[in-house]
């Protein structure tokens, strides 16, 4: 019996992930690679179980700083994106600054944040924010800037104010771009918070990995990496679902509308 294409598509990501871990396990045990160089998935699992409660504690901290930074990025990115997209003047004025700022490696900025706010939660939140707000700005601005001129003419000839056009058309039109950017931004936010925790914190998965690697506890380092990866995937999926719910019209399929 042939497997249906749709079931295959559903199973594929799980199958690939499991296969990858299996191959990894086989290579590690087969070549007798010691744990302090490259731990096998089984060893990572053991470490994960053994250190379950500290991992949970640090993961909660990382999740919190990531989401706080991400929330900031969404609000600031949305506002800035609307301003940049709505006004060519603001666009021209902000553009070089934004691009310049985005080109700075955020890890280089963490020491500055530490001087200002001390080590710990605040720099992690701010690093997550700084690294993830840019895609939100760009996408929201693109959504607004690509408004069809004819549509704008229709509304303007009716006497619509800029604000009307923004609320009735610009904003809903930029929503698909906005949600697409959220998926990128949330994964970037994890990068930001973990970078900051690694450099300047005594809490969070980043810190846990730093201290584990300094005591050569590689299985725990990898357990931390995997926890971050899993959190990233879960959040990404969450926003993908939200995106589909709220802007289904943008991903229309003639056979299954809505």
């Amino acid at each position: 019996m042939a497997v249906k294409q749709s079931t295959l598509i559903k199973v594929a990501p799980w199958a690939l992930t499991i296969t990858l871990f299996l191959v990894w396990e086989i290579i590690c045990t087969g070549l007798k690679i010691p744990d302090y160089l490259m731990p096998a998935p089984s060893a990572i699992w053991v470490a994960g179980v053994e250190y379950a409660s500290p991992i949970m504690m640090h993961a909660t901290q990382t999740l919190f700083t990531t989401l706080a930074g991400f929330a900031l990025a969404v609000v600031v990115g949305m506002v800035l994106g609307l301003a940049v997209g709505a006004s060519p003047l603001i666009y021209k004025a902000c553009y070089p600054l934004l691009v310049g700022f985005n080109s700075i490696p955020k890890v280089a900025f963490v020491p500055v944040l530490v001087v200002w706010f001390g080590i710990g939660t605040v720099p992690a939140i701010l690093t997550a924010f700084l690294i993830s707000f840019f895609p939100v700005v760009v996408n929201v601005a693109t959504g607004l800037a690509t408004l069809e001129p004819e549509l704008e003419d229709v509304l303007r000839s009716l006497g619509a104010k800029r604000w009307d056009i923004m609320i009735k058309v610009g904003l809903p039109r930029s929503l698909p771009y906005f949600f697409a950017s959220l998926k990128v931004a949330i994964t970037l936010a994890f990068v930001g918070s973990v970078i900051s925790e690694t450099v300047a914190s005594n809490l969070g998965i980043g810190y846990l990995m730093m201290s584990a690697s300094s005591s050569m506890n590689m299985p725990l380092v990898f357990a931390g990496l995997i926890v971050i990866g899993v959190m990233g995937v879960v959040m990404y999926e969450l926003f993908a679902v939200l995106e589909n719910r709220l802007t289904g019209w943008a991903h229309r399929n003639p056979n299954a509308p809505g």
Binding site: L158, D164, K168, P172
Partner: protein, 259 residues
């Protein structure tokens, strides 16, 4: 007394730049159906922007309803070649969009929601879209989207309807269907129409008066009154008189293209 009048109007998009239209004078009666034809890029769409107040003329004067146009006029409805319906709104909500902007509908929208909805549904029914109100635009065919777009242009009962090649992207059969739809709408409740088009048959079939514009900078070269009896059935397009008008206009266009 003319409803729309142009007095020696020129417009250059960039100050001091080349004129998009030059020295255009014309008069349109209230309730008249006017078609503007010409080679592409002749500034037909510029004409629309001037009438609707989206652009002020560089020289000359534009009057609508006895007053000089100084900004967007709310008595105008517009439709373009692309239907430009909002994909996140149902067809009915798309049609009702102008009511959310134009006064006095805007202030009364909450109170009169039921009546306005009924009006919009009646209008959709008139153009053959009864029952399609709750469909999304992307569930409609191109012709149906264009019908809805024309409903959106008419929902606030404008006295002037501006159409910029509204049927240009449709197949020949759908196009003829929509000609008849527009003809019927106009005949039931006359309003003034300015139709910009490339299609001479469309112009002759629908309009009372056809203006032929020159190449850029656009000038009015010919004003031709179409003296075919109304109401015009589609069959009129196969008569000699009709063919005569189309032929005559075609010769003007041909001469412009050669020059």
């Amino acid at each position: 007394m003319s409803f729309v009048s142009f007095e020696n109007v020129s417009l250059a998009y960039a100050p001091g730049g080349a004129n998009a239209i030059e020295n255009v004078s014309l008069n349109i009666r209230e309730g008249e159906f006017v078609a503007v034809v010409g080679p592409s890029g002749c500034g037909k769409s510029t004409l629309m922007k001037l009438v609707s107040g989206l652009k002020p003329p560089s020289e000359g004067y534009v009057f609508v309803d006895g007053r000089e146009v100084g900004g967007p006029l709310k008595i105008i409805g517009m439709a373009f070649q692309a239907a430009n319906l909002l994909p996140w709104r149902t067809t009915l909500d798309n049609v009702m969009l102008p009511l959310e902007i134009v006064e006095p509908f805007r202030s009364n929208l909450k109170k009169e929601k039921a009546k306005y909805t009924a009006d919009a549904e009646a209008l959709l029914a008139k153009v053959g879209l009864a029952g399609y109100g709750d469909k999304f635009p992307w569930e409609l065919s191109g012709g149906m989207q264009q019908r809805a777009s024309i409903c959106r242009a008419l929902i606030h009962q404008p006295r002037l309807l501006m159409l910029d090649e509204p049927f240009g992207a449709l197949d020949a059969f759908t196009r003829e269907e929509l000609w008849c739809m527009l003809r019927d709408l106009w005949q039931q409740q006359p309003f003034t129409v300015v139709l910009v088009t490339h299609d001479l048959r469309e112009a002759v079939f629908l309009a009372d008066t056809v203006y032929v514009m020159s190449k850029r900078p656009g000038r009015i070269l010919v004003r031709k009154e179409i003296d075919l009896p109304r109401p015009r059935p589609l069959d009129v397009t196969y008569t000699d008189a009709f063919a005569g008008y189309v032929h005559e206009l075609r010769e003007h266009i041909g001469r412009i293209r050669e020059s």
